[in-house]
Symmetry: D2
Subunit: 383 residues, 4 copies
Amino acid sequence: MNKTYLLAPGPTPVPEKVNLEMAAPMIHHRTPQFSKIFGEAAEDAKYLFQTKQDVMILASTGTGGMEACITNLFSPGDKVLVINGGKFGERWGKISQTYGLEPVWINVEWGQAVKVADVKAELDKNPDIRGVLVQASETSTTVSHPIEEISKLTRQRDDLLLVVDGITAVGVYPLPMDEWGIDAVITGSQKALQLPPGLALVSLSEKAWKQAEKAKCPHFYFDLAKERKNLADKTTAYTPAVSLVIGLREVLKNIKEEGLENVHKRHNRLARATRAAVKALGMQPVAPDSPADSATGMFIPEGVDGGKLVKSLRDEFGVTLAGGQDKWKGKVVRIAHLGYVDTFDTVVAIAALEMALNKFGANVQMGKGVAAAQEILLEAYCK
Amino acid sequence: MNKTYLLAPGPTPVPEKVNLEMAAPMIHHRTPQFSKIFGEAAEDAKYLFQTKQDVMILASTGTGGMEACITNLFSPGDKVLVINGGKFGERWGKISQTYGLEPVWINVEWGQAVKVADVKAELDKNPDIRGVLVQASETSTTVSHPIEEISKLTRQRDDLLLVVDGITAVGVYPLPMDEWGIDAVITGSQKALQLPPGLALVSLSEKAWKQAEKAKCPHFYFDLAKERKNLADKTTAYTPAVSLVIGLREVLKNIKEEGLENVHKRHNRLARATRAAVKALGMQPVAPDSPADSATGMFIPEGVDGGKLVKSLRDEFGVTLAGGQDKWKGKVVRIAHLGYVDTFDTVVAIAALEMALNKFGANVQMGKGVAAAQEILLEAYCK
Amino acid sequence: MNKTYLLAPGPTPVPEKVNLEMAAPMIHHRTPQFSKIFGEAAEDAKYLFQTKQDVMILASTGTGGMEACITNLFSPGDKVLVINGGKFGERWGKISQTYGLEPVWINVEWGQAVKVADVKAELDKNPDIRGVLVQASETSTTVSHPIEEISKLTRQRDDLLLVVDGITAVGVYPLPMDEWGIDAVITGSQKALQLPPGLALVSLSEKAWKQAEKAKCPHFYFDLAKERKNLADKTTAYTPAVSLVIGLREVLKNIKEEGLENVHKRHNRLARATRAAVKALGMQPVAPDSPADSATGMFIPEGVDGGKLVKSLRDEFGVTLAGGQDKWKGKVVRIAHLGYVDTFDTVVAIAALEMALNKFGANVQMGKGVAAAQEILLEAYCK
Amino acid sequence: MNKTYLLAPGPTPVPEKVNLEMAAPMIHHRTPQFSKIFGEAAEDAKYLFQTKQDVMILASTGTGGMEACITNLFSPGDKVLVINGGKFGERWGKISQTYGLEPVWINVEWGQAVKVADVKAELDKNPDIRGVLVQASETSTTVSHPIEEISKLTRQRDDLLLVVDGITAVGVYPLPMDEWGIDAVITGSQKALQLPPGLALVSLSEKAWKQAEKAKCPHFYFDLAKERKNLADKTTAYTPAVSLVIGLREVLKNIKEEGLENVHKRHNRLARATRAAVKALGMQPVAPDSPADSATGMFIPEGVDGGKLVKSLRDEFGVTLAGGQDKWKGKVVRIAHLGYVDTFDTVVAIAALEMALNKFGANVQMGKGVAAAQEILLEAYCK
């Protein structure tokens, strides 16, 4: 028997009914029938993004959405501040360079959040910076960057955009785009949105749309203004990923029904429970000071081969967690809290981790992490 | 969000891929295409029943299979020995009476297995008894009756049949029909077979087929001889439940691939783990002496309303366990190990039970049951 | 490539969305969640049956429903009038004999409906007849028997029940149980109900319920009074076929939405179109005088091997029609209009038949049957 | 009732079993399990493309694949020859301009194929042209351009690439990339590949890979060299569209099983049958001289409003065909032969068109088009 549990930070489990919804006979995308679905999805996406702005739905994965923000908002030669605190921060820099922007890098130690003072200093030093590029949640390090504080620096200026990769943050914890004045937010379908990969969602502020008019980086497939124009007619510039959009409407309905605040609380509860388990098991969290609620990373005890541990968890225990990336390869394991994940997924992840650590000879008392997690998870059932 | 876990002793979870297999476009049942499927299912069912005899596949739930055994094997006026140790034992008696048989009852205290000596005594006292009707696993009390021992009494006699309701035993623990000389075995699709309800499977020994020729109870829809004749042509007497038969082929393939011995070991491991958790939590098992590996029942601690507990587990925690039936209503909770259920389902059931007991004020230390279970469950991963 | 079309008189195609609905994760049957579904299905089934009486939902195929009517309504020795105009009429007689009833046979020539005068004559001759057993639509001959006229004979008498096998009539053409005073109506899931086989639905009149109280034929699994009692609590006596009941609720919703009258009109339109095609192609209908709207049978032209024709249609053309049964084997082909079938299924069946007849050398002008059908089918789109 | 038929040139129907395959529980993309699937899909894609080169699988729709070819193969200032014979030819020009290329336009009358002599003349006149950008099948006009002949002009030169949009040609009719020496071929998932939209597939010749090394157009998300490098490890540069890749493997298996030659023959047969029907109905084809086998366009008879006709076909008859685009809006209807489409889909499309034309008062004899089509379609069943 081969039962599996998916607790990696994307792709995340897809609700069975959403999978079945997407398995219905194909429909044509230039029909009132699809327009209705697309229009509802786009509308509910605003709720998710906590914005009144349009949310564009692109047939690509998240990186395409990041590229769209660069090419639609900036011009070659533009200076941008890149918060590089992990693999995805680094990606902001690489895309910028590809399109001829001039990144100013703030390199942050892995496991740490960027210091707002550092951002301020660089912005002060480089008044010609046109954009701050940052992750809300840096998935590779399970760190949450201080977006609200950074937004206080950016929203005062007309010529400076705050561009936030919210791929593992939107639908996980509060990132109120309009309230904080974020200028661009991106997410992908395979994270908190509980869908297969294949959609990127992007929303821009008024300020961003204005700057977009002057942006000179070339772009055709990822043309946000063209998509926005089509969106007004409940359609897309090019063929949309029909089945995924059908799924999107469905999960957004579910999220609305659960209530965004409750969705955030759920992710937070699972994250706190997992952190408590990590502590109870005497393990070291990788992001002790500013952990994101999207995933919890921890260092694997000395003497245990992290690669083998994660492989055994996946192939023998059936529990897919994420290992460490790049410099943390083989040293770190990450448990995701993203998407269609709840109390007992978290219990399973912790129980499996305890058992696998035992199997690999680590001095870990089984049940102790689970017990610590249960204390917090019980909150959901005792109102 | 509403994630659910089904750990009641039937229906049990259906593997996602089997559900999808059954969702394929309908096919006609009088075609080579369906005959191939039906023939393979019937063939693999022999492996499951540990027999060389035909296994008939009926479009009904398990009770229909029980009735089929009564009406195809006996005649009005026949004396039968009914082992009544719970709700399903009682059903044997009721069906017998309906068809004019004369049941001799052995009433067994709930939670106890029948004593072989008692069976022997009744058989000795009533040499005209033509059948022993018994459950391998009495689902209502989570008790396992001593079928092997009883079979030693019955297989010596030509005019005495051992008719075993194996509905929650076949595919759970060894019930080798041919080796033990059991004369009739029944199971249903919604238990260890991991399917929706709607199929009953029945197999008869040579001795049973011989007695069937003389049986005079009326039957038309449940006509085992007619089904056997059709089975030789890979078809059924009446329209089969096509989609469920398609699923049946699939799950039987999975069971063969896992290996029946491993399937039995898995159920046993989950049962032992749960019993260890019950003990660790200081709870009382309902079947302390002869527990079945199909489900583990325990008394709910004083002061906790069992009905409310099971309801909260189901509606708030999303974990469907079974309460007690009839006289045990409100006093007992049962965790099933049946079917598409493995390590982490068991962890979830125990963790949920711990949390719910806590919520209802029981003095239970969370994580303790889980830890006890983990010790045993770990066996599967340390060869 | 292997596209298939199913136009046999059961099983019929299942709507894709209903198949997906039934593929959702299994739920337990003793829960408010299932009770809601079951209650809604049972309620909407009354609309389908055109009755205020309860409709019992049994986990069996249609023959089980027929048996239930015999064993729940009659006693050994009871005289019943069997209208034997085909394979299913004959089945009424066989079940009756099995349970010790005394059938009085009216043997009707295949392809003809029973003459009401003949029924009246037998009833007059045998005033002790307690039931008239008849098909509304005799599937094997595609004949419709005159139920309304027969009901005028039966409903005047308190001690005479009209028991109608509506397996291929309910949901096909009007069979208003209450209005006509029919005492028992049976249908199955795999016909007009557009589901996989595995459910039988049965409804009884007040008169029938009264007679049921005195009926002495043994029955346990098919216990209509027990089912009715459970139905009041939105549950079943024994485990229901959960997935099929979920599908049942769905298709009944669809039927209500389409409107029963429109459902009847649709079946009638498809039947008339097919009959027009048969005529245009110069073929002989098997039921020229009283054809049922459930399926249209026709004799295969001289010189064409009917078995090979039907096999080629199924295995080469991908179009599953039904051949003839028993004495009509190899001589007849039947096109069904049942269930999830509409205009273009009918066009496909006729076009395929034309092509296959051509392939087998029959002198048939392709397109001629289609054209005749189109004339009638167009009605649906020109209001 | 609402049965629907999808015969537009994309998206096309998805086989039911492929839809169900894609509905299986989500799996992680950085696992041996997914790598196996991805590797098999990429390998079988070579068979489809008739090439030994790698086929890159991108998470985007077809236009993204077109952009990828422009940005990965060319540099700003490069001169390219754009064959503009319809909406998609025009798109080649627009993408080129976006990225600073200098298109030389050959404008072809709608409904006509480009003249090879014209291509030759322009290439001779502009020896600095670095690429010929063309559609194999121009979907908007249902025209097939003479790719083989054009390839004879391009393959002699080392500095000239033939870039073919094969979106509605690959898997429809022969486009042997290696044999003809085509330098870039693109297709999308929602056409002959029978999948939902969301994947673009691209393959490059050795010559193209060489030119790619020098190409200076910026690109990040669509980085073919990076994808090729990852492909060697059976993975992708960024998160792949997991569910669609699972579907891709499945349909490619089906195509291999059917045999590419048979797939081509099937499309050709359906196209010829439809053209014969158009002729029999006295309608004018839009591409009389060089029709593509992907779809057949025809002018709508005078006096019939094409917009209303197509809408009625879709919303009343349930048959989705495509209307005309841009200048042909309201004047043209297109029947697709693409993908999971066979004999009786074609019969349905023609029968529905005949009926709808009748409804709208056109002087069309029903059945005549069907009959003409049947003559040709019958070929498949008479070997």
